[in-house]
C-alpha cells in the first residue's frame, strides 16, 4: 500500500481501489537495466480493471525478463482533491512509484470522452502535457486502442501511437528500446527508430497543412524516411499469441470482473455505422480446445464463478453451440456459469439462451439499432422483424421476463416512420412478453436509444451528425411514444454525443481545446454527472474553434480527412461504395459466409479470415 496514500484512504469512497496487493498482481524488482512500462487507464480502477487489452499487455510485458509493467488508473474526484491538497502525485499500484519514473507511460484510447482524463492524469503525475515540452527526464507518453485510428486531436500530447493489435508490436518496441539503451541513444534517436516499425505513428514527425479557408489538407513529413501512411498491426493467427491466464483479481466490484476469454477478433457483419466492425477486420477465430484449456487455467488462477466468451459478436463464432455446451458441462457442476456478451438477434438461438440459463440467468439484450426494415437495410444491420419475433417470443417462452433493446437515432435517411418503428417494436415486444411470458414476473422492456455519432473509417464517415436540436426533438418524440407501463426508456444526453462527434473526426487544431477543457475542469466526461457542457463550449470558444463545423458538417468525398494516414487496411473506395449502397438501401452480406465485399483488408494486410471450423 502506498504510504503517502494510506492516511487518505479512510476519507475516500471505495478505498480498496487504491490499495494494490490484489491476487496475481506482478511485483517485479526495479533493477536498473529493466524497461519500466506504466499501463495507464484514463478512468477509475473499477472501470479499467475490465479492460482485456490491458491484461494482455500486462502479461506479455511482465513475462519478459528485461521489462516490467505496472498499472495506473485515474483517481476519483474525492481522492484527486486530497492528493492535490497534499501534493501527492499520481502513482502506480504495484510499486507505488510516480509515473514520471517510468520509461513508458502507455494510455489506452477507449473512447473520445476519455481524452480529458489522459491529460488530467499527466497533470496529476507532474508530466508536461505536450510532447515538445518533455525532455530526456520524462517517460515516453504513448497510446493505443480504438481511438488511435483518429488520434489527431491528441497527436500533440503523445510521443508515439500504436495502431492495431499490440501482442507482437509491444515486443518489437521493447526490443528496440533495450537496444537503444545499450547504445546510449537519446529519446530522439529512439523515436526515429521506432517510427520505422509497422504500426507505429510518431505525430511530431509530421506537420499538418491547412488551406487558406481552414480546410485540412494533409500531413507533411518533417522527418526523413517516415511512412506516408501508418498501417495497423494485425495478427495472422490468434492461436499462437499469449492469452491472459492469470488476471489480476480486483477486490472492489469492477466491470467485467469474470474469467474473460476472447474467442475471436474482428466482425465482418459490415454494419455501416460500426467502427469496430471496420477496424478489427478480418474475422479470426480461436481454436475451441485452446479456449477451453485457457479457461481451465484462468478459473483455477482466479476463482471466478463466471466465464465470459468475449468478442464483437460472440453468437457468430462458428463453434459457439458446442463450445457453450462443453463449457457448461465442465464448469456447471463447480458453480461456474457462462455468459455471452454482444449477441445478435439473428445468430442467437433460443436454445443457446436456454443452455446458458441452466446455470445462471443473465439479462437478454438485443440491438435492432433501427426501427424499420428500410433503415436497417441502410445501415446493413441484417436483422428482420421476423428474426426479432422468433427470438423474443422464444426467450419469453423460455422464462425470460426482461428484454433490453438498443436503437440509434440520427442515422442517415431517418424519417418519422423510423422513430415510430422503434416505438412499435418496443410495444410489440411487450405484447409478446405478455402473451408468451412464463416467467414469474411481469415482462419488462427497456429501450436504450443513443444518438448516432459518425466515426472515421466507416461508410458514414463523411456524414454530418444531426444537430442537437434535431436529436432532442427525436428524443422528445420517442419519450412520448414510449410512455407506457412495462417500458423503460433511456437515452444519453445529446450534448455528450455532440462532443464525442467533434473529437471523433477532429484534427490537430482540437488539441488546445482538450487542454483548455481540462484547465476549465472537464474530466470524467463519460460520467453523465461529471459532463459539463458549458465548460466544453467555453473551451471551444476560448480556442476559436467552431465545434459544429467538426460534428455536423457533411464532408466532400474528395476531401482529405484527418485520419487518411491512419490505415486499418480498408480501401476508401469500399467505404464510398458502401455509402452509396446504404443510400440505395442495399444490404451487403458477411464475407465469412458469402462473397468477398472487397473491403481491401485481406490483400492489403496479407491476412485471411480464419474460422474455427476450418472453412472460409
Amino acid at each position: 500500500m502506498d504510504k503517502r496514500l494510506e492516511p487518505l484512504l479512510p476519507y475516500v469512497q471505495k478505498p480498496a481501489r487504491y490499495t494494490n496487493g490484489e491476487l496475481n498482481a506482478v511485483h517485479k524488482e526495479w533493477a536498473d537495466q529493466i524497461t519500466k512500462v506504466a499501463l495507464a487507464f484514463p478512468d477509475i480502477y473499477d472501470v479499467g480493471m475490465g479492460n482485456l487489452g490491458f491484461k494482455i499487455l500486462y502479461e506479455i510485458i511482465n513475462a519478459r525478463p528485461d521489462a516490467l509493467a505496472e498499472r495506473a488508473y485515474a483517481p476519483w474526484l474525492d481522492m484527486q482533491q486530497l492528493m492535490e491538497e497534499r501534493g501527492i502525485p499520481l502513482t502506480v499500484l504495484e510499486s507505488g512509484r510516480d509515473l514520471v519514473e517510468f520509461d513508458f507511460v502507455g494510455f489506452t484510447l477507449q473512447h473520445e470522452l476519455s481524452h480529458t482524463n489522459i491529460i488530467k492524469m499527466m497533470d496529476l503525475a507532474g508530466i508536461p502535457r505536450f510532447s515538445h515540452e518533455r525532455g530526456e527526464e520524462h517517460p515516453f507518453i504513448i497510446a493505443g486502442g480504438p481511438c488511435a485510428y483518429n488520434v489527431e486531436p491528441l497527436a500533440d500530447f503523445f510521443d508515439f501511437v500504436v495502431l492495431g493489435e499490440g501482442e507482437e508490436v509491444i515486443n518489437e518496441i521493447l526490443d528496440l528500446y533495450a537496444a537503444s539503451r545499450k547504445s546510449k541513444g537519446d529519446k530522439a534517436d529512439f523515436l526515429r527508430k521506432v517510427a520505422r516499425l509497422e504500426g507505429v505513428y510518431v505525430p511530431s514527425f509530421y506537420t499538418p497543412v491547412y488551406t487558406d479557408d481552414g480546410m485540412y489538407a494533409g500531413l507533411e513529413p518533417v522527418e526523413e524516411g517516415v511512412p506516408s501512411k501508418i498501417r495497423k498491426r494485425v495478427l495472422a493467427d490468434m492461436n499462437t499469441v499469449p492469452i491472459p491466464e492469470e488476471f489480476v483479481v480486483p477486490y472492489v466490484d469492477a466491470v467485467h470482473d469474470r474469467a474473460m476469454v476472447e474467442i475471436m477478433r474482428g466482425c465482418s457483419r459490415g454494419c455501416r455505422f460500426c467502427q469496430a466492425g471496420m477496424i478489427y477486420r478480418p474475422v479470426r477465430e480461436r481454436d475451441p480446445e485452446l479456449l477451453k484449456e485457457t479457461l481451465r487455467k484462468l478459473v483455477a488462477a482466479t476463482g471466478y464463478d463466471e466465464i465470459s466468451l468475449s468478442s464483437l459478436s460472440s453468437g457468430d463464432y462458428s463453434q459457439i453451440g458446442t463450445l457453450v455446451t462443453d463449457l457448461i458441462a465442465e464448469f456447471g457442476p463447480c458453480g461456474v456459469g457462462v455468459s455471452l456478451p454482444s449477441l445478435r438477434l439473428d445468430s442467437f438461438g433460443v436454445e443457446l439462451a436456454e443452455e446458458i440459463q441452466k446455470t445462471r440467468k443473465t439479462g437478454l439484450t438485443f440491438a435492432p439499432e433501427a426501427g424499420t426494415q428500410r433503415l436497417r437495410d441502410v445501415i446493413n444491420k441484417n436483422v428482420s422483424d421476423e428474426d426479432l419475433k422468433q427470438v423474443v417470443q422464444g426467450a419469453f417462452s423460455a422464462g425470460w421476463y426482461s428484454i433490453k433493446l438498443y436503437f440509434m437515432i440520427g442515422l442517415p435517411t431517418e424519417t418519422e416512420e423510423d422513430l415510430d418503428g422503434i416505438a412499435r417494436l418496443a410495444h410489440q415486444v411487450l405484447q409478446w412478453g405478455r402473451k408468451y411470458g412464463t416467467g414469474q414476473r411481469l415482462p419488462q422492456v427497456s429501450v436504450s436509444v443513443s444518438s448516432f455519432v459518425p466515426k472515421p473509417h466507416t461508410p458514414f464517415q463523411w456524414m454530418g451528425q444531426n444537430t442537437m436540436e434535431e436529436l432532442r426533438e427525436k428524443q422528445k418524440y420517442l419519450k412520448k411514444a414510449l410512455r407506457h407501463p412495462g417500458i423503460r426508456f433511456n437515452y444519453p444526453r445529446v450534448e455528450e454525443s455532440f462532443v464525442e462527434a467533434v473529437f471523433a473526426r477532429g484534427d490537430r487544431r482540437l488539441g488546445p481545446v482538450l487542454a483548455r477543457a481540462v484547465d476549465l475542469g472537464c474530466q470524467f466526461d463519460s460520467w453523465t454527472d461529471c459532463f459539463q457542457f458549458e465548460l466544453w463550449m467555453q473551451a471551444f470558444s476560448d480556442c476559436g474553434i467552431d465545434p459544429h463545423w467538426y460534428a455536423q458538417r457533411t464532408r466532400e468525398f474528395g476531401e482529405t480527412l484527418p485520419w487518411d494516414h491512419l490505415d486499418p487496411g480498408l480501401e476508401k473506395e469500399f467505404l464510398l461504395y458502401e455509402w452509396q449502397r446504404a443510400l440505395r438501401g442495399e444490404p451487403t452480406p458477411d464475407c465469412r459466409w458469402d462473397y468477398c465485399s472487397d473491403c481491401g483488408v485481406c490483400p492489403n494486410l496479407l491476412v485471411d479470415i480464419a474460422l474455427a471450423g476450418g472453412e472460409a
Partner: protein
C-alpha cells in the same frame, strides 16, 4: 456425507479497506481456487453455502473473523486450514478451523459483542480516562443514526459495555473496548468514536474478538465445535 467447517481468520492491514461485500467475494474466490467440494444452494443461481459473522468495518483490521463453509464431502479441518491459507490473498489468514456439529446455530444468531483495540495517534490517556469516567455517570448518549428508512434516534450509551486498560503508547494512547454487536444492539465504529470522542478515521483499530455473551459468561464462536481429529 458432507460437513460444515467453522474457522477463524484474520484481516491484516493490507486488506483492511475492503468493504464487506469485497471481503465475501474474495473469500469465495479463494475457496473456489482450493478445488474443495463446496456445497451449493439449489435453483437457477446456485450460491456456495457459506455464512459469516458480522461485517468488519472498512479500515479496521481483525484477529477474530468467522466463517462457516459447507462441503459435499467430509473435509478435515486441518486440511482445510492448510489448503485455504495457500489460496487466500496476502492479508488473510485462517487461524483455527473446526468441524461443526449439526444443529449449531449460525454465527449471526449468537454473536452479540465485539472487542476492539484502538490506537489513537496524538491522543492523551488523561483525556480518554476523563471521558470514560464521565460516560460511567451518564445513562444516555443519544445520536441520530442514518438508516435506510431515514434518521432514527439511538441511545449509544448502553451499547458500550466496558473500556479496558488505557495506556499511553508512543505518541498516543491505546485502549480496548467491549461493545454490543449484532441484532439486539450494534455499536458502529464511527459511533464508538463519537462516544469516546476520538477521530475514528485516523485511529488504528483491530477487532480482537467477536463474542457470545451470556450473562457473565463469554464464549468464543470456535468453542462450539468438537475437535474430531
Amino acid at each position: 456425507m458432507g460437513s460444515i467447517i467453522r474457522f477463524r481468520f484474520s484481516v491484516g492491514s493490507e486488506v483492511r479497506f475492503l468493504s464487506h461485500l469485497d471481503l465475501l467475494r474474495t473469500l469465495e474466490r479463494a475457496l473456489r481456487r482450493t478445488g474443495l467440494p463446496i456445497a451449493h444452494t439449489e435453483g437457477f443461481n446456485p450460491r456456495p453455502k457459506m455464512s459469516f459473522g458480522f461485517a468488519l468495518p472498512v479500515g479496521v483490521m481483525s484477529w477474530a473473523e468467522y466463517g462457516d463453509f459447507e462441503f459435499n464431502e467430509k473435509v478435515s479441518p486441518h486440511a482445510f486450514e492448510t489448503l485455504y491459507n495457500e489460496h487466500l490473498p496476502q492479508g488473510f489468514r485462517v487461524l483455527a478451523a473446526e468441524t461443526l456439529p449439526e444443529g449449531t446455530p449460525a454465527l449471526m444468531s449468537v454473536i452479540n459483542a465485539a472487542r476492539y483495540q484502538i490506537y489513537i495517534p496524538g491522543g492523551s490517556a488523561a483525556e480518554v480516562k476523563e471521558r470514560v469516567d464521565w460516560l460511567k455517570q451518564v445513562d444516555t448518549f443519544v445520536i441520530e443514526r442514518q438508516t435506510k428508512k431515514g434518521v432514527r434516534k439511538v441511545n449509544l450509551r448502553p451499547l458500550l459495555l466496558e473500556v479496558g486498560p488505557i495506556s499511553p503508547v508512543g505518541g498516543g494512547v491505546e485502549i480496548t473496548t467491549l461493545s454490543s454487536l449484532g441484532k439486539q444492539g450494534n455499536l458502529r465504529i464511527d459511533e464508538l468514536g463519537q462516544l469516546l470522542d476520538f477521530p475514528y478515521r485516523d485511529a488504528v483499530i483491530t477487532r480482537t474478538a467477536q463474542l457470545i455473551m451470556d450473562g457473565e459468561e463469554f464464549r468464543e464462536p470456535m468453542e462450539i465445535g468438537v475437535r474430531d481429529e
